[in-house]
Structures are given as C-alpha cells and as structure tokens.
C-alpha cells in the first residue's frame, strides 16, 4: 500500500496531467496541503514510485522561465492509478466510523 506522501504525489501528478513535473507537483502539494514539500522528498519519492512502476518520468524541454534547464516530466501509470484508488478506498473505509467524519456528516445534514 502507498504511503501518505506517495499518495499525495500521485494525486498531484494525476491532477496536473501533461503538465506534471517536479516544480509543478511541488507547488500543487504545497498549495493543497499547506505543508512544505522539500525537493529532496519530492525527487526521492518520484524515484521510489518509478521503481515500483507507479510513475513514469522522462526529461522534458528546457524553458526560459527555468533558465534554460530541462524539466523532469512525470506521468502516472495505470498501476499508479490503481494504487492511489486502493489507498483512497482504504482511507474512506477506515474513516467511516471516525468522529470527525460523523460530525461532518451531521453538520452537513
């Protein structure tokens, strides 16, 4: 099963689609979670997920915005989508009886 940060990474990459690369994923994670994402954690996790076959990466084009440096593009593989879905299902199942979920349901109704 995926770890929490691995799930965040796959979800952010999937949300960005064809524009998924290191800096964009980092920004997506930081803006949605409000937590700092270090470059070290980002790239070692990308490598780990690629080794597991959950992500595919390749070197993209260089842009002026990046000082002529190439991007490391990321794409979620079907296996990665399945792993993220399994993680999400597990979290949803285990959260059903949790007080904060029940409170939210009650307050929403």
């Amino acid at each position: 099963m995926l770890g929490e940060f691995e799930y965040l990474m796959i979800t952010a990459a999937a949300a960005l689609g064809d524009d998924a690369y290191g800096a964009a994923i980092r920004e997506e994670i930081e803006s949605t979670t409000g937590r700092k994402c270090s470059i070290g954690a980002l790239y070692t996790t990308i490598d780990r997920l690629e080794t597991k076959g959950l992500l595919k990466t390749w070197m993209g084009e260089a842009t002026r915005q990046r000082g002529g440096r190439a991007k490391r593009m990321v794409r979620v593989t079907p296996k990665g989508v399945q792993a993220a879905k399994d993680f999400y299902d597990a979290v949803t199942r285990v959260s059903r009886g949790a007080s904060w979920v029940a409170n939210r349901t009650r307050s929403a109704s």
Binding site: G22, I39, G67, A70
Partner: protein, 257 residues
C-alpha cells in the same frame, strides 16, 4: 538569487547526476528560491540519495567488510614483502634467516604475488559491490594507512613500503568499476591460486607460534577471491559471451539505477 549565490547552488548540485541536476536547478529557478534555501534543498536531496544507498548491505560490505580490515592486513603484507626483499639484498640478514638466495627469492616472489592477488581481488570487490559509495570505502581504506604512517618506526625501510598494496588495489577497483562480475572460469583459478600461494607461508611459519594470529588473519584476505567465485557468472548465463569478463555495461547500468 544573485549570480554569486547561484554559483554556490550550482557547486552543490554537482553532487547530483546530470539529468537530476538539470531538473533540480530548473525547479529552484522557477520557484525563485533564495541562495540559502537552494543550497539546503540541493544538499538535502544529496543527503537523501546517499542515505538510500546505505540502506543496502553493499556499501557496508565494501567499506567495513573489505576496505577497512584489508588495508590493515595488506599494510602488514606489504611490510613483509619489503622485509623479504631487504633480506635478499643484505647477506648478513640472509644468513640469519637461514634462507639461501634461491629459496629467499622464491619466498619473495610468492609473497609479492600473494600481495598482488589479495590487493587486486579486494579492490575488485570494493569497486564492483558498491560503486556509488566508493568514496566511503576509500576513506575507510586510507584512515588506517594514515594511522600506520604516523607510527611507522622502522629505520631500514622506507615508510612507503607500507603502501605496496595500493597499486594493485587501485587496479582492482578500476576493473571492478568497469566489470560487475568475473567469469567463473577465471574466478575459480584465481581463488585457488591465491589459496595455494598461502599454504607455504602458513606451513613455513608453523614453528613460530607468535606469528599464528597474523597468519590466521591473513586468511581473511582470501575471502574477496572466494566472493568473486560465489558471485561469478556461470557459463551459458546472461552476458556469458562478453569475453573474459561477464555482465559488462548492461548490468552496470542496472546496478547504477
């Protein structure tokens, strides 16, 4: 980020692989990180990369299983070769040692070949087992060398006699970096030859009980040769037609990744 500050970030990024350096530096520019944050980010990634390598048994084996203990023992063997050479050159010493010029030459030759064999196989194992942590193995090998160098007190021998093992060891490391595994047909004769060369030294010193610990420890220098046998490519396996050696660059690339 200033050009001056950026040069620090670029210098730190040199510790990363080329593609990764490109991507990371680009990300830092895009994110508009400060010099300090940039250097910390890059060093953080370098540290994590190194930590991942040390999760494996390979760097531990290369550093603490071969480089560190072998350097101590090989310095002793280097001294022994130098001492045998000095004995041959000096008639008084030759007479005291109860050796003739012929038998003394054979002893010197055996010791020298043994030293080359031990050093080369040790170097090969260090180079092939853990390429990316080679720096750590080098540090672990040189630390005892510096320690012994500072305490060397034999007037008739040069201090550099301690380091006769270095040249074949470096040659072995170089070969180990290029080639991941030897062919079995080369590894077995090499290991057997090294073991056989050890037998005369073992039996000749049998009457000197005080040299027993040293001679017993010398057997530890044999294990890299037998490790090469244990990990050698069997005939008919992948890459068996790559010449004298097996599993060249293809395997190297797999391991590097």
């Amino acid at each position: 980020m200033t050009t001056f500050g950026w040069s620090f970030v670029e210098a730190a990024a040199r510790l990363l692989a080329r593609d990764e350096r490109e991507a990371v530096l680009g990300d830092l520019i895009e994110a508009g990180e400060s010099t300090w944050q940039g250097v910390l980010s890059v060093l953080g990634l370098v540290f994590r990369r190194e930590a991942v390598l040390w999760k494996s048994w390979r760097p531990w084996l290369a550093g603490f299983g071969v480089a560190l203990p072998s350097s101590f023992l090989l310095m002793g063997a280097s001294l022994s070769v130098s001492w045998s050479y000095l004995t041959l050159r000096c008639p008084e010493l030759l007479q005291k040692s109860s050796l003739t010029l012929g038998s003394g030459t054979i002893v010197l030759l055996c010791k020298a070949l043994l030293l080359i064999g031990w050093s080369w196989t040790g170097g090969f194992v260090v180079g092939s087992v853990s390429r990316r942590t080679l720096w750590a193995s080098i540090v672990l090998c040189y630390s005892p060398c510096l320690f012994c160098l500072s305490r060397f007190r034999v007037e008739s021998l040069s201090r550099f006699c301690l380091f006769l093992f270095l040249l074949p060891a470096i040659w072995g490391v170089h070969q180990g970096l290029r080639i991941s595994r030897m062919k079995l047909s080369w590894a077995v004769p090499l290991a057997i030859t090294i073991t056989l060369f050890m037998l005369p030294d073992w039996s000749s010193g049998a009457q000197h009980w005080w040299s027993l610990p040293r001679r017993t420890l010398d057997w530890a220098l044999c294990w890299p040769a037998w490790y090469l046998v244990a990990t050698a490519k069997r005939a008919g396996g992948l890459g068996s037609s790559d010449g004298l050696w097996s599993g060249g660059h293809r395997e190297q690339q797999t391991r590097m990744s």
